[in-house]
Symmetry: C2
Subunit: 201 residues, 2 copies
């Protein structure tokens, strides 16, 4: 906490959760649209309807606020680990469906969106995306796949899933933005399957 | 041009090109990292080492500056149209190689990078990416492909190419960032080929 900011009582647990949620939502909007340089604790506090001192009290600094605003909840990683427990020959479709399911989930969607938008122009968040990619997406591939070239296979699968997400969820470009989940699973599942277990050369 | 800004002589043609190039490079950096709200004509002029009045003189407004900073040169679109003239059964690999070739070309790379970074958080640029996608990538697909579901096929191909570009060129996440062009063409070419001419369901 910086000098000159008065520590205030945090209030009952429920109120604290609500206020932290409002501050994080405001921070996500600001980092995503205005970037690191364009985001200030004061601006985040104003949009959240709280005193800037409360933002410092809960989050300490702008660095820590960005970290908290782009921190995926454990349920998200758990869901992806669950998708990776599918039989090997059905992993392709399972990962496509799992990705679309996560983006349709209101617990994850605003966070995923803000993280990808921020990562586009903020190196700190880009590095974090890289770490999450390695820890959440790459690690189960290295455990599950028998094939050679496992990092390369997981990386190729990630490019296809990411491309769907960018075009459909972040940019909303047609016709991909409106394609049905079943159609996408049927069209893209075999791509992921081949990258993970098929012949690559 | 806004009131109160003095019109100044544009100088010889060569100098004008150099100055415009410096202003555009500065604008690309700023829009990509600070977004629309965080970019000012004054800041762009300062980083380019020119007077703000010159930015207004050449580009008129911040809107027009953003438009110019994210305008792909005609050679880029011509190269993509050239890739689409390949025999139908070799289009998959040709489009992967063409995409990587464009990103390795210093005439296009800074512009492509700034446009994708800006599109992540700037709706105006996102819409432009959508129009370019439809005009440059979708139009040849509609002309060339015999298969059914042509817009859907072109859209799926675009997701895979975009995902490669985001992971390799924008975020530089390994192992995709360091994969050789020949390996990527062999691994991803068949994906694009299937999306364009193969069995999707």
């Amino acid at each position: 906490m910086p000098d000159g900011v008065e520590r205030r009582p945090a209030g009952p647990r429920e109120e604290r959760g609500v206020l932290q949620g409002r501050i994080l939502a405001s921070a996500r909007d600001s980092f995503a649209s205005d970037g690191w340089a364009g985001t200030s604790i004061r601006g985040v506090a104003r949009k959240a309807g709280v005193d800037p001192a409360l933002v410092y009290h809960y989050f300490g600094s702008k660095e820590q606020l960005l970290d908290a605003a782009t921190e995926m909840p454990p349920e998200w990683a758990a869901g992806i680990r669950g998708d990776w427990t599918m039989p090997l020959d059905r992993l392709g479709e399972a990962l496509v469906r799992g990705t679309l399911r996560n983006w349709a989930d209101e617990r994850f969607r605003p966070l995923l969106l803000a993280t990808l938008q921020t990562a586009a122009h903020e190196p700190r968040t880009r590095e974090k995306v890289g770490r999450v990619f390695a820890g959440v997406l790459m690690a189960p591939a290295l455990e599950r796949l028998n094939a050679d070239q496992r990092p390369r296979r997981a990386g190729l699968a990630a490019t296809q899933l990411l491309g769907i997400v960018m075009m459909r969820e972040v940019w909303r470009i047609e016709p991909v933005a409106s394609m049905e989940v079943d159609h996408l699973a049927a069209a893209v599942g075999p791509t992921i399957q081949r990258y993970l277990t098929g012949d690559l050369d």
